[in-house]
Amino acid sequence: MRFASPREVFGSLHFRLTVWNTVTVFLVVAFTLIGVREALRLALLKETDQLLEDDALEMRLTVQEFLPNLEQIEHELERKVSTHAHRGLYVQLLDRRGAVQWESGSLPPVSSVPPPPIVARRPTTIEKYRVVQEQLKDTDPRLYWLRVGSSLAPVQDDVAKLTNTMLIAGAVVLLVSPLGGYWLAGRATRPLARIIDTTARLHPSNLEERLQIRGTRDELDRLSQTVNALLDRIAAYITQNRQFTANAAHELRSPLAAIQNSLEVGLNADRSAEEYHELLGETLEECGVLRDLVNQMLLLAESDAGRLEISPDAFRLEQVAQKSHEMFVGVAEAADLKLRLECQGPVLIYGDANRLRQVVNNLIDNAIKFSRAGGTITVSVRRDLARHAVLEVADTGMGITSEDLPHVCERFYRGDKSRQRKDRSGGTGLGLSICSSIVAAHNGTIKVESTLGQGTTVTVTLPLAEAARRDEIGLPLKNIESSPVA
């Protein structure tokens, strides 16, 4: 078991989700509590004000009722104040200029009470008191204002109590929410962790394992499906590669074995110069087979790596077909086959003429190999309606079975197993794969159609030079303008 490094832990999605969750929960709780506290404070203040205004009104009426009996007024006011002692009330009577004429015993520090004009008719906070002022009408000039104050201490006490409770609640949230967050994040990332575990276990030697699909159709399931699809493709690719390597080794072994045998036998006894000649010639022939095979495999490897050399230029496909026709017409005649060439005017394409000549050669060669004496092979080059260049090689040969047809472009695939290796005319089994690689590098397509016993038609479709110029498949296109289009 390996322990995760701090960097891994703090960088993990699990950790970060936990942190975000905690921060979010904490902020929500904090804002809610602050809001509640403020609402409570305002409500309490409003209640205090209501009471204060009622008191002030009542006291003004009392004062007016008992005027001019000052003693009676003071007594009444004093009584009123003391009955509401828990609210911390105080009362002042002021003259017109604001000088205090009388005040209740429960007075706040005198310095803190500002002169009358500042105190409004509406309750105002002055230091730790809510203060309201009533004007006494038609009275003694010494008694012009009635000022009533109510302590804010009860409100503040209540708010303070709530604040304490909130701080405790906040602390609890702060402690609990990371745990909850950790648990939640764990739940959310567990499938992810499983994906990681499974993926980490995967090895090219065991390509069977796949990620579990939980059937929840969520993002993680989609991720698993995507990874599985990728694995399928990789598995197919690796299998194909393994097959290729195995086949290649097998193919290389035959000529190698032949070389080894003849050299060993040759060295076993003294021989005449003529015999040595013969022997070395045979060996050289096998070397040629090896060289061709290796070259073909290198070409395919280059193509797989996307590094197939294409030196494009504008050229006429039908001229390439003509050259190939020239090259093979002798072989075809020797095999009692008719090799026909059908061209209708120039078909200008943009690509690597040498590579495409290789394609045409391979196709004609295949057609000759799989034809019976008396047959006809038709090579035709034309433009189709969709403005493509079309090259077709059709034979009247033995055809390909429907089981073999989908595989003919696979490397080393040979339909007729009996022709494998024993008979050199079977070729390396790479011809068509090479053709499709080259055609693909030219943005073209290759199609093989066949009817068993009737013949095979291979159709190669390539972009015309104008189309290729539009799509910019490669090098400078100035050659197109300068080349003859007749």
Binding site: H277, E278, L280, G281, E282, T283, L284, E285, C287, G288, V289, R291, D292, N295, Q296, L298, E302, R307, E309, S311, K323, E326, M327, F328, G330, V331, E333, A334, N354, R357, Q358, N361, N362, D365, I368, K369, R424, S425, G427, T428, G431
Partner: protein, 223 residues
């Protein structure tokens, strides 16, 4: 001819040297670029075969230095398959030809002779080998007194064989000469034409002029 081989692979170097010497040429083989450059500067060679991947000094640098110093000894590059940029650069800085490994010895020899000839003489208008005569201007072929009717392909084939009379010509060389393309398939596209050519040339003669050299190609009998 006096030849310089600059090649670090001991097996290839040794066999090239042996091959050239047996073909009657003087030959010096060095295994690194610095020695190659020193000897190349001496200007006593008729041609140089230069490997591109060399210890000491890369082949391209050797070539560039030689050409910068106005030393115009013909140079044939030996390159690995796929190293197209180096090859192109090599030709740009003044190589006369190149060959991709693995190559056949006769082809290298033919190319060396070709680059040397290129700088010396023009081919004549008639080729003659033994009793065989080929008029390049009128495109007529005669053996002794008998005239042979040849197709353009056969004519071209015979011309090439006659230029290399007495020497082995590979199928690859013939393919490239006839159709400007290499054919590495297993079908022998040359055989048919050779056989027809033989039929036309040897009619009435006991001995075939064109020999098949097992594993290598064909050769035209010199006398």
């Amino acid at each position: 001819m006096d030849l310089l081989i600059v090649e670090d692979d001991p097996l290839i170097g040794k066999s090239l040297q042996k091959g050239f010497q047996e073909a009657g040429h003087q030959c010096v083989w060095v295994r690194d670029g610095i020695r190659g450059l020193e000897l190349g500067r001496s200007q006593r060679f008729d041609a140089i075969t230069l490997d591109l991947m060399l210890p000491g000094l890369p082949g391209l640098d050797v070539l560039k230095t030689l050409r910068n110093e106005r030393i115009l000894t013909p140079v044939i590059l030996l390159t690995a398959r796929g190293a197209i940029e180096e090859r192109v650069e090599g030709l740009t800085v003044g190589a006369d030809d190149y060959l991709v490994k693995p190559f056949s010895f006769v082809e290298l020899m033919a190319r060396i002779e070709a680059v040397c000839r290129r700088s010396v003489s023009r081919p004549s208008a008639t080729l003659e080998v033994g009793d065989l005569r080929l008029d390049l201007a009128t495109r007529r072929a005669t053996r002794g007194t008998a005239e042979c009717e040849l197709t353009p392909t056969e004519f071209s084939l015979l011309e090439y064989l006659m230029r290399f009379a007495g020497k082995v010509v590979t199928r690859k060389m013939l393919c490239e000469h006839l159709w400007e393309t290499d054919w590495d398939g297993t079908t022998n596209v040359i055989d048919v034409h050779i056989n027809r050519l033989r039929g036309k040339l040897d009619r009435g003669f006991g001995q075939s002029l064109i020999l098949t050299v097992r594993g290598r190609g064909y050769a035209l009998r010199e006398s």
